[in-house]
Symmetry: C2
């Protein structure tokens, strides 16, 4: 089946219109008519080659929602007409301890990412959700709870699970003071989940202009990280910091904010981080942790949780012809919510 | 009172005989006639200036045991004749949340270390246990359980608590696979505690000649970190790594050994660490943590636990005239147990 998309033809050029073939569904594949796709900072990093060499054209997009159009013969969990989602992964080894325990996102062998990854099934480079169609093994397809509307569901598949999973794993809850560092697509979902889990939630931002946005989420406080006095006043007070800054940065100023036994969890940057002085963790039994998306089981749970608690991303719906402008705005940290591409409208 | 000691007169010269005055005990001070003092790698780092400028002469030693000789008028917890210990700290602010919660070792204001630290009481540079006498505020004096013999108790005050506390905090126990990286004074105590807590315990060492020593502690396995195949075979298998390497090192090879949700805890190096790729913690929700000694309450608990379970360091008793040779041996990683100085015998 022919899919229409926007793709990055090189590391430097803007996204352009592009057509390519999706494979015929194998017996265990689900074919999805894409309706919406969220725009993640990872799309930009990958397409611009920040994370290593990419085979162009690169079709980004891993916050995908749509309607099942066809299923393979052996597919039991889905049928045409179902509302479904696809996140960052479309395959993993399935055999290692991580996969067996439901942590496909930590597969010890090899994860097949939704785009720009070698597909073990057909040998092509995977192509993501900035396209009209996608074919995915059923194990990596999520069911969308009925009460979730499609455009709001899309960003949950990456921004949602990436913030929900660590808050869940590190048992964020009542009595804890949580700081969300960075208020973009991930950060604003982190704020919503941490509040829903019962913690006191602060936003720590380098952008004074985001204070208003932070307050609109009814946070318990805001620290502007460029203001020394505000950082000093907040030192030793946070039990958990969700660090959503999407590029490498010095952790030292943030580690100082942690209370005894506190954890700073990296979910934003996927790249070499600068060194740190070990006393920043040794004093106070602190941790520098990391977390990336979540397993399929937990992602399904997160969709259910988000639906039940009505924890939805703030979104701005765009069409594909606005994508290059959207990327620029995200690169310049002007966005404290999520862009979602209306794929149907874009390729009418 | 005059104290006799060995001191480092500069960063480069061997320790030399030295005399100095200890203050008269204040109402809350305890004066201790030192009998034994353990030799910690920190002594070497400090005296050689590895951790920053030091006022010489520097009298090291923070694994101190002895007998109370005098007490101040307001001292209620100790009396002359008591067997006691002093670890790495002799004061802290006492007012911050960390101190109030019993984590004086994480004081938010300032810790007064047992040596080479500015003493808030008399303004001198503190001088440690390579000496015949020490005067310490009662809050920082530990009671030695009767069944603990003095020379074996000494290393517990630093090597013991520094390994006990993180194993305790991260709930090491049955069903967990623990790796102790480095088999020196700290490492061998880590092995003993982790085994006593019920975990499967492995030693990871860069020194093939330490395999025999490791096996003498009845460990479940040994990985020689310089052998690529051994490191690969152990990848993704450890729930907790206690990293006792006493200097900065690349964490990447060790993070690969962690299972999902695993934690590597630094207790050895107190210095700038090299950078790391964030994916090393993001894949698998792993943590790089740190831990340094423990609070006074936990140190007292550790002494009790060690006494009850008979978890004692392997020691080699030396006299002060052998100290320079001992330091050389430790610097060259030839020691998988702890040197303890017989102070009484040294200054007869």
């Amino acid at each position: 089946m022919k899919a229409k998309s926007f793709a990055a033809p090189s590391a430097t050029q803007p996204l352009e219109y592009y057509e390519f073939n999706r494979r015929e569904p194998t017996p265990t594949d689900v074919e999805i008519d894409v309706h919406f796709c969220g725009v993640c900072h990872s799309d930009i990093h990958t397409a611009r080659g920040d994370w290593g060499e990419v085979a162009y054209p690169c079709v980004p997009g891993h916050e995908i929602v749509g309607i099942v159009s066809r299923v393979g013969k052996a597919v039991t969990q889905f049928k045409p007409g179902d509302s479904v989602g696809v996140g960052c992964m479309v395959n993993s080894c399935g055999k290692c301890e991580a996969c067996k325990r439901g942590f496909e996102n930590s597969c010890f062998q090899e994860i097949t990412w939704t785009y720009s990854s070698k597909d073990p099934i057909d040998g092509t480079d995977t192509k993501g959700g900035y396209s009209t169609l996608i074919v995915v093994p059923q194990h990596f397809v999520l069911q969308l709870p009925k009460s979730l509307d499609m455009p709001h569901a899309a960003p949950l598949l990456c921004a949602g699970i990436t913030t929900y999973s660590p808050l869940n794993h590190w048992k964020v809850g009542p009595g804890m003071k949580v700081g969300v560092i960075g208020l973009g697509g991930l950060g604003h979902m982190g704020v919503k989940y941490a509040k829903a889990m019962g913690a006191k939630v602060w936003v720590i931002t380098s952008s004074p202009e985001k204070v208003v946005a932070a307050k609109s989420y009814h946070v318990d406080g805001v620290v502007v990280s460029s203001v020394k006095e505000e950082m000093e006043a907040a030192s030793h007070t946070f039990d958990f910091l969700l660090d959503t800054i999407p590029k490498a940065h010095d952790l030292s100023p943030y580690l100082k904010l942690l209370n005894i036994h506190g954890t700073l969890c990296l979910v934003g940057p996927i790249e070499p981080m600068p060194g740190f002085h070990s006393s920043a963790v040794i004093n106070g039994q602190k941790s520098i942790a990391g977390s990336g998306i979540g397993g399929i089981k937990e992602t399904q749970e997160m969709l259910q949780y988000s639906s039940e608690k009505n924890l939805l991303p703030e979104i701005e719906i765009i069409t594909m012809d606005e994508i290059n402008k959207a990327w620029e705005s995200m690169t310049h940290k002007q966005m404290s919510k999520r862009y979602v591409i209306d794929i149907k409208k874009s390729f009418q």
